[in-house]
C-alpha cells in the first residue's frame, strides 16, 4: 500500500494477482477466497481487479460486485495502513465501548469507516472480537487490545505507524 513510484508497484501487484488467479481458476467456490487474496494484495478491491477476477472465474461482474458489497470485509476504496476495529459487541457495549469509539474518532478526526488523510488509520467497528472477557476491546490490524479506557485506546494507537 506504500505505492510511491507507481509502475513497479503496480506490476508486482499484478503479478501477485495473476498468481492467485491461476491458483483458483479451476477451484469451485473460489470467488470469495480470491477476493480476499486480491484485497490482501491491493488493500482494497479496485474495479479492474474485480473485472479480472470475474473474467478468470467466468462469473458475471454483477455477481462479483454483489458479493464484494455483501460482506463487511471487502472494501471498494483505498484504506489506511492500519485498520482499527472497535468492538461494539454486547459485552463491550455494557462496559462503555461507545466512549472508546468517540475518543478514538475525535483523536483521529474521522468518523465510522473513515480514513485519515495521511492514510495512516481507518476507523471501523466490529460486532464482536471474541475478547469479551477483556471488554471493552479493539483490534488494530491483527492485534487485540483489551481493558481499554478512552485514553488508553488513543495511547495504544501511537505504536502503529
Amino acid at each position: 500500500m506504500t505505492c510511491k513510484c507507481g509502475h513497479d508497484d503496480a506490476a508486482t501487484k499484478q503479478e501477485a494477482l495473476q498468481k492467485a488467479l491461476d491458483k483458483y481458476r479451476t477451484v469451485r467456490g473460489a470467488l470469495i477466497p480470491l477476493l480476499q487474496e486480491a484485497q490482501e494484495i491491493y488493500g482494497y478491491l479496485p474495479r479492474e481487479v474485480m473485472q479480472q477476477i470475474s473474467g478468470a472465474l467466468g462469473v458475471p461482474f454483477s455477481k462479483t460486485f454483489g458479493v464484494a458489497t455483501f460482506y463487511a470485509q471487502f472494501h471498494l476504496k483505498p484504506r489506511g495502513r492500519n485498520i482499527i476495529r472497535i468492538c461494539q459487541g454486547t459485552a463491550c457495549h455494557v462496559r462503555g465501548a461507545s466512549r472508546i469509539f468517540e475518543s478514538v474518532s475525535e483523536n483521529l478526526g474521522v468518523g465510522i469507516n473513515g480514513t485519515t488523510d495521511d492514510l495512516r488509520f481507518t476507523l471501523e467497528t466490529v460486532a464482536c472480537l471474541g475478547a469479551c472477557g477483556l471488554a471493552p476491546a479493539m483490534m488494530v490490524n491483527d492485534d487485540t487490545h483489551g481493558r481499554l479506557s478512552p485514553d488508553k485506546a488513543v495511547e495504544t494507537l501511537k505504536q502503529y505507524e
Binding site: R47, M50, P60, F61, S62, K63, F65, G66, T69, F70
Partner: protein, 310 residues
C-alpha cells in the same frame, strides 16, 4: 403420478405430489398473492406475501415453495395470515413512493392490487426511505429503484440468458439494491435493453421509456405477436391505443427465448404506426441510428440496393 390429499380453507383437495400449496390453491380457484414467485424462474421465497397457515407449524410458510404433504391443513386467509400480509404491505409502502396517480404502472401494479385487496390506505410506519436518483439515461428503460420491492425477478430473468446477468443484488440488509456492477446506471452497464426485466417487474420500478406518457394502462390493448427475425420465436405485445399501435413490449420470457432489442425494434418498425427512431450505444453515448443499422441490416440493404437497383 401419485396424488396428495390435503385441506385448504376447509375444502378437500387432491393434487399431484410435488405441487406447491400455491399450485394446489390455484387449482381450486383460491387466490394467494405473490410478488417474487414466477413459474418460469427459480424460486426464492423472499417476498413472503404468499405466506399461509399450515396446521401444526409454529410459523407461517410461503405457499409458493412449500410442497404439499398428505393430510396437510392449510388456511390461506386466517387472521394471522391477514395480519402478516397487511403488515408486509405496510412495510413495503413505508419505503415506496406514494405517487400512484402519475405512475405509469397505475392499474397494472401488484402492490396497488394487494393494497386494495387488504385495504391498506397508507403505511403506519414513518422513517428512513430510500432516495435513489431515477435512472433515465438510456433510450429504452426507465429505472426507479425507489419503487423496487426487491422481488429479484429481474435479476433471475436477466441471468437466464447466457452471458447477460447484467444486474444482481448489491449491498446488504436495508441497503440491498438491484444494481449493475459498480452500482452504475443501466445506461452505463452492458445491458442490451432486451426488456425481459421490464416484462417481469411486478411494480413500477422498471418501465418502457418509449411508452412513457403515451397512455394509461386501461386505455391500451395488448396483442401478442411472435417475432420472426430468428428461430427463437420470442413473444412480444403490440400496444394499441385508440386502434393505433403505439409501441411494442417484450412478452413473457420463456425457456430458450432470449428476447432481444433487435427483435423488438424490428416489431416496432413493422407494426407501429409511428415508430420512434432507434438509438444505439456508440462508445459511452446513445445515438440515433438508421433502422437498417439498428436491425443490423446495413450491409444487406446496401447489397439489395446494389442488386435490385441495377
Amino acid at each position: 403420478m401419485t396424488n396428495v390429499r390435503l385441506t385448504i380453507n376447509g375444502r378437500q383437495v387432491s393434487v399431484p405430489a410435488g405441487s406447491t400449496i400455491l399450485d394446489a390453491a390455484a387449482a381450486q380457484g383460491i387466490f394467494i398473492p405473490t410478488f417474487c414467485h414466477d413459474p418460469g424462474l427459480p424460486g426464492v421465497a423472499s417476498c413472503r406475501i404468499c405466506v399461509v397457515e399450515v396446521k401444526g407449524s409454529k410459523n407461517l410458510t410461503p405457499a409458493c415453495m412449500t410442497a404439499v404433504r398428505e393430510g396437510m391443513v392449510v388456511e390461506t386467509e386466517s387472521p394471522a395470515v391477514v395480519e402478516a400480509r397487511k403488515t408486509i404491505l405496510e412495510l413495503i409502502l413505508a419505503n415506496h413512493p406514494q405517487d400512484c396517480l402519475t405512475c405509469e404502472k397505475n392499474g397494472d401494479c401488484r402492490l396497488q392490487d394487494y393494497a386494495f385487496l387488504y385495504g391498506i390506505k397508507e403505511s403506519g410506519f414513518k422513517g428512513e426511505r430510500h432516495n435513489y436518483p431515477v435512472e433515465d439515461d438510456n433510450p429504452y428503460i426507465i429505472r426507479d429503484m425507489n419503487k423496487c420491492i426487491l422481488c429479484g425477478k429481474c435479476v433471475r430473468t436477466c441471468a437466464q440468458v447466457e452471458g447477460r446477468a447484467v444486474i444482481d443484488y448489491a449491498f446488504r440488509g436495508f441497503n440491498t439494491k438491484v444494481a449493475p456492477p459498480m452500482n452504475t446506471t443501466l445506461g452505463e452497464s452492458d445491458c442490451v435493453y432486451c426488456g425481459r426485466c421490464v416484462a417481469v417487474c411486478p411494480v413500477g420500478a422498471l418501465l418502457y421509456k418509449p411508452l412513457a406518457g403515451k397512455g394509461r394502462v386501461w386505455e391500451i390493448d395488448r396483442e401478442p405477436v411472435t417475432c420472426t427475425f430468428c428461430e427463437s420465436g420470442c413473444q412480444f405485445f403490440l400496444n394499441r391505443k385508440n386502434g393505433r399501435v403505439i409501441g411494442v413490449t417484450a412478452g413473457t420470457p420463456g425457456p430458450g427465448r432470449p428476447l432481444c432489442l433487435k427483435g423488438r425494434l424490428g416489431m416496432e418498425l413493422l407494426h407501429c404506426d409511428d415508430p420512434v427512431t432507434p438509438q444505439l450505444k456508440k462508445g459511452d453515448q446513445f445515438e440515433e441510428v438508421s433502422w437498417a443499422e439498428a436491425l443490423g441490416l446495413a450491409g444487406v440493404m446496401e447489397k439489395i440496393k446494389k442488386l435490385e437497383g441495377k
